[in-house]
Symmetry: C2
Subunit: 404 residues, 2 copies
């Protein structure tokens, strides 16, 4: 008799955002007239920009003619896109990354879930607490995390790195040495950025301790301050110890279009083995490329016109972030994030738990956010709001919160 | 010091089609003037049909307006597509499959590579020999296959089910009991179909022996004969023992658009555990949905106009298949497949090995096919040609082969 992967049975509850979606659906059914403002899941709301739409239409036309039709894409992505990425996202910032170190994919979530496959089954992972759930859950499924303690919310074999008000939500180096270190900056969920010096500490630590950094830079476009690195490869030595994951979702609004990429430098080697070659093999075996039309849309983000249009999108959401942050502050809330990131990380009022505040906000204000505890025990007492709504909705949510 | 997943190091050579691509690239560089006819990889060449192009343009327009913009898709796929699939691909054929048993994805290759994750690490897999390499390679990466013997081409812990001229390329039930049975019908690479009675034997066997059938029906649209099942769910009892994987690549020409789906029936349970729920959890954690515009394109394949346009595509390729098959036969080749499938499976002439014939055909006729040995030891002595070229190229390839 066949048996299942028992690791799946260890996963407590369902995926955070599925749980929230179910709660909101139940509320909507019970309160059919009530309007809901969704500032929970980090999903964009602005339409795709003109240059992207134009590129999509033009690529669709190509797919409709025999002379220009495209079948299977190259495993690692079309050269036109990988070259634009290497030039604009890396070389323009002084990072030495070449197109053959870039692997185009259908999104950062998939890549950050799949990347653990390259490592030994008993690898020890270190994650920030709170953390984007995919890093942990994908390692649970692979059997790396030991047992879950519902009392603490911790897995026995995971190294947690608390991100608290005390350390400014930037984790300190861990006491126990991990094999894999997941870092996300600008951070989801806390909205915090890391300085170059602090990131250099991490790169040095990884090299000295033989660890690999999985650097999730999905929110890079939101960096507004100097001295905040846009890529881990701005740090010397990162080519030997870091993988970087990027997304078109949050800068160009591609959540519904699906495009991302992962950088695996050729200098990242475990003994004789090139992790770049391993990831290429995985792509070739288990993946079949992002759609041509979507890759063309991605390339359109790197023209002058495309870049300008995307700056406009980011500016729109950052205006929301500032508005929400300043508004909440003026109502007496303690608020973090929102400067280099589209996420506002607020302290729940009156000692409410984060799920209590979720329910309170949904029932009394019709505003959906994300409970900090959903991201890990150190998220307890915090709550995430996103700037990805419309400006009108951001203002309306503020008014409703003010009236509480 | 971190360590890699050593299973990757066990994989011999690179992925079959990457190897072929490299050989062809080397030949093209050495012979710049020479025209190449590619009948190797199963990639379509005809443009997307009118109804699909129209649906894409219209969905792109929706993505460009705030009122109709779509962000993250539902994890399992949009209801409009899952309902169209359930109705047309299953209920219309008397198969009891509901939309919530359908998981929309970016293609059958990804799904057939990922599906093994649901099962125990020491599950025993059974595959046909020859076989589509992804089934085996994805299990190699997961550590299920034991050691590779370069002398035989076999993995120590895989159950191989020979598909030979003697059994009409339809595997016999294995002596040793597997946990997972990969079946692909109409078959890639041999082009052979299975009858309802034979498939019923497999379903009975799986149920009696506690095995799960992974049924890859990517080539279903090419079935032209009666008594060949279009879905495993035409067989009674399959809902309790079979997962089916489907693709839009080969019927609607979506190889460059990326769309597929997997059916995991609610009746498929391992003790108390629903595999449907497990796959939903995997989708929710490691995947983020197929693009909205591509799902709309998929739905366009199920309108009356869409269906007619796709029948036209399939008819085009099947005309190629017939032409190649009859042509080769008239030149004295022994040829299989090509009736319920776009693949022609021919015996190499003069006792040539399949890679010898690959080189011979490339060098002397400029025709690229796929060596049978690339699909497994029992593929040795055979060679796969696809009907996915243009009609002109199919004829031209025949002329060149005739002249050898």
């Amino acid at each position: 008799m066949y048996r299942i992967n028992e690791n799946y049975q260890k996963l407590p509850g369902s995926y955070l955002f599925s749980t929230i979606a179910k709660k909101v659906a139940a509320y909507t059914e019970a309160n059919p007239g009530r309007s809901i403002i969704r500032l929970g899941i980090g999903d964009v709301t602005q339409p795709l920009t003109g240059p992207v739409i134009e590129a999509l239409h033009s690529a669709v036309d190509e797919m409709g003619k025999a002379e220009t039709f495209r079948g299977y894409a190259p495993d690692l992505g079309y050269a036109f896109l990988r070259e634009a990425i290497a030039e604009n996202d890396f070389r323009a910032r002084g990072c030495d990354i070449s197109p053959d170190e870039i692997f185009v994919s259908d999104g950062a979530k998939c890549d950050s879930g799949n990347i653990q496959e390259l490592f030994a089954a008993d690898s020890k992972i270190a994650v920030c607490d709170p953390v984007y759930p995919v890093y942990v859950d994908s390692n649970v499924m692979a059997g790396r995390t030991g047992t879950y303690d519902p009392a603490t919310g911790y897995w026995s074999d995971v190294i947690y790195m608390p991100c608290t008000e005390a350390n400014g939500f930037v984790a300190d180096l861990p006491d126990e040495t991990p094999d894999l270190i997941y870092l996300c900056f600008p951070n989801n969920p806390t909205g915090t950025a890391i300085t170059k010096d602090r990131l250099a500490d991490w790169v040095r630590y990884a090299r000295e301790n033989g660890a690999v950094i999985i650097y999730d830079a999905a929110y890079e476009a939101y960096i507004s301050e100097e001295n905040v690195p846009h890529s881990v490869y701005e740090i010397e030595g990162a080519r030997e110890c870091a993988i970087e994951i990027r997304s078109f979702s949050k800068n160009a609004g591609f959540t519904g279009l699906r495009l991302g990429y992962t950088v695996v430098p050729r200098d990242l080697r475990c003994g004789d083995v090139s992790l770049n070659a391993m990831w290429a093999r995985r792509h070739g075996t288990k993946y079949n490329g992002a759609p041509y039309i979507v890759q063309k849309a991605g390339a359109a983000c790197y023209t002058d016109e495309g870049k300008a249009s995307i700056r406009g999108l980011v500016a729109h959401y950052m205006k929301n972030a500032r508005t929400i942050k300043e508004g909440l502050k003026s109502f007496g809330y303690t608020v973090y994030g929102g400067v280099n990131s589209p996420y506002i990380w607020l302290k729940t009022p009156d000692g409410m738990s984060s799920w209590e505040f979720f329910d309170f906000l949904l029932e009394n204000a019709g505003v959906v956010g994300t409970p900090g505890a959903g991201f890990g025990p150190n998220g307890e007492g915090f709550f995430r709001l996103t700037a990805f709504g419309t400006y009108e909705n951001s203002l309306a949510a503020l008014e409703r919160i003010k009236a509480l």
